[in-house]
């Protein structure tokens, strides 16, 4: 509704924002004090000087760098592949006429409702048969493409690529794949960037399947945080320093691309 908001609106939003930011600060705060202070409950509200020290101990407790490396590898592989396959399939559903396209698209939409998480038992059996359990392959392969990715790109490409442009390119003798490369890919770029970001973040945050598939010495960052938390006694300065550290990569990504993420959620909402 178009009206100038007053203090009440700004006040409520600011309060909400404070609530959104407070747990970040708490995590950093406890992570910056010594174990003794952290164990005594609420610490002084200003950060102590022990964050780097605690972070170093956390890094030594779990295979931190390996976990971060694995998470970056798995998440970028999943995101890149989802974008490529999502764009190809999305284009086919948006612009190409082929037998069964309506039925297949309905099937894609329906599969979005299928919780793939529940297929972990056969997935585990399959990965064991292939000899992939314990390797990052077992986490990458199931997330190579998602129904959401296909549907998201389809919704975008319906309007983003004019039919005339495709026809003109075909008239000029472009093969289908060259049309994709020279006409569709450039038009798809904004949506592709958003899909990449969301897939990256979702894969980065995933826990259930990586916990099952990966061993303690070859974890993703979420599985490693799980190990960090499961020590015999709780040293919250160490655990929260590690947690803060592990959140920094996505925080940086958010600072760099927050605008696109907001735009992406809002676009997806209207189109989906």
């Amino acid at each position: 509704m178009s009206r100038r908001p007053g203090f009440v609106v700004y006040g409520l939003l600011a309060a909400f924002l404070l609530g959104s930011a407070a747990p970040f600060y708490w995590s950093f705060l406890l992570g910056s004090h010594t174990a003794e202070i952290a164990a005594q409950g609420v610490p002084p509200l200003l950060p102590g000087g022990h964050f780097l020290d605690n972070a170093r101990r956390a890094i030594e407790t779990i295979p931190f760098w390996k976990a971060v490396g694995n998470s970056i590898l798995v998440s970028s592989a999943a995101a890149t592949s989802t974008v490529i396959f999502g764009t190809l399939a999305g284009y086919a559903f948006a612009k190409l006429r082929f037998r069964g396209s309506n039925g297949l698209l309905a099937f894609v939409v329906a599969t979005m409702a299928v919780p793939t998480q529940l297929g972990v038992v056969p997935l585990f059996i399959l990965m064991s048969k292939l000899g992939w359990t314990g390797t990052t392959w077992s986490v990458i392969v199931p997330s190579l493409v998602t129904a959401f990715g296909v549907f998201f790109m389809r919704q975008y490409l319906v309007d983003a690529v004019p039919d005339e442009l495709i026809e003109a390119a075909r008239m000029d003798g472009c093969s289908q794949i060259r049309v994709v490369w020279h006409v569709v890919a450039p038009a798809a770029r904004p949506a592709a960037a958003i899909l990449w970001l969301f897939t990256f973040m979702a894969t980065w945050s995933d826990f259930f399947w990586p916990l099952i598939a990966l061993p303690p010495d070859n974890p993703t960052i979420q599985v490693a945080l799980n190990q960090l938390q499961s020590g015999f006694f709780k040293d919250y300065s160490l655990v929260l320093a590690g947690t803060t550290l592990a959140t920094i990569p996505l925080l940086v990504l958010f600072v760099l691309t927050g605008r696109q993420l907001v735009a992406g959620i809002m676009q997806g909402a209207v189109k989906g």
Partner: protein, 312 residues
């Protein structure tokens, strides 16, 4: 296209073949991957669930519905089902209400609006595992800052990790913290798509702002409401990372008496702690059916509620 089939050159033939088969080629990666990691597992889960099937020993005898019966008779199944539903209701209900209000606040002529929007999305960057660790500390039974705050205002501290309802509340808070801003943006997009002249004619009819919100905005964003409710049903009933990491005992089953264990945690417990893939599969299938039923129930419910607000 018809009638020119006779004098096709090799190039034209190739081009036709290309036009005909390229679409299938493009959509095939999705269907191949989905068949392997989505469809096959779902069907095969049913197959595993009617067999004795050890994690290490592999397939055993066909046992019919025995696994289902054993899961059903297991006291933790009912308990963890109730926990899952309780956490789901505590998280999705307040979350949607707050998200809609937040979206209404954002749907004004704010200064620096992109910053506000980014700000409310911030919690989304924290993974559920990290959220659970951080909130596990905030909700600490003895030294947590929440209990500290409660004591400051003269209330008794709450046993967040041992009391059943309190633990559900704490876990629901984590889910709400991470997802409310995200859903608010979805509602905001829907609100901005509402034609402005509807508001103008409503205010000409003398409707107050609140009245306009109830009779114009809410009915108009109903489809979005349905979308959010369905996705949060599918996601919410599978909740795993939050309750698992909230548990500070070493068993990690959702508290000493499983006060906050969920169904997905039971799947994990059967399969990878008790090493019984048969019972894990039976549990997974029951959860799947439950999600299906609840998604449909919610769909009907939201439609009903939406049509009470205004007649469309």
């Amino acid at each position: 296209m018809g009638g020119v089939t006779r004098h096709l050159t090799w190039r034209q033939r190739l081009s036709r073949w290309d036009a005909r088969w390229a679409p299938y080629l493009y959509v095939s990666p999705f269907f191949i991957v989905f068949a392997i990691v989505g469809l096959f597992p779902l069907v095969y889960t049913a197959y595993v669930s009617v067999h004795d099937w050890g994690l290490l020993s592999g397939k055993g005898e066909f046992v019919g519905l025995d696994n289902y019966r054993e899961v059903w008779d297991n006291p933790y199944f009912l308990k963890q089902t109730v926990n899952t539903l309780s956490i789901f209701v505590l998280s999705s209900g307040p979350q949607i209400v707050i998200a809609v209000v937040l979206a209404a606040l954002l749907d004004t002529q704010l200064r620096a609006r992109t910053w506000w929007r980014m700000g409310i999305l911030l919690p989304f960057v924290v993974s559920p595992v990290a959220v659970a660790i951080i909130f596990g500390s905030l909700f600490g039974d003895r030294y947590g800052v929440i209990n500290h705050g409660l004591e400051l205002i003269g209330l008794d501290p709450v046993a967040w990790h041992t009391d059943r309802f309190a633990s559900h509340l704490a876990i629901a808070t984590m889910v709400n913290w991470r997802w409310t801003g995200f859903n608010a943006l979805i509602f905001l997009a829907a609100m901005q798509a509402v034609p402005r002249d509807l508001y103008e004619s409503a205010s000409l009819d003398g409707a107050s702002k609140v009245r306009q919100f109830l009779s114009v905005t809410l009915p108009m964003i109903r489809p979005t409401m349905i979308f959010v409710v369905i996705t949060s049903t599918i996601g919410g009933l599978q909740i795993f990372a939050e309750p698992r990491l909230f548990d500070q005992t070493n068993a990690r089953n959702g508290g000493p008496d499983r006060q906050f264990g969920t169904i997905t945690m039971l799947v994990y417990d059967f399969g990878w702690q008790l090493r019984d893939l048969g019972r894990a599969s039976a549990t997974a299938w029951m959860l799947f059916l439950m999600i299906l039923v609840l998604a449909v129930v919610n769909l009907v419910l939201v439609r009903r509620i939406g049509s009470l607000g205004g007649d469309r």
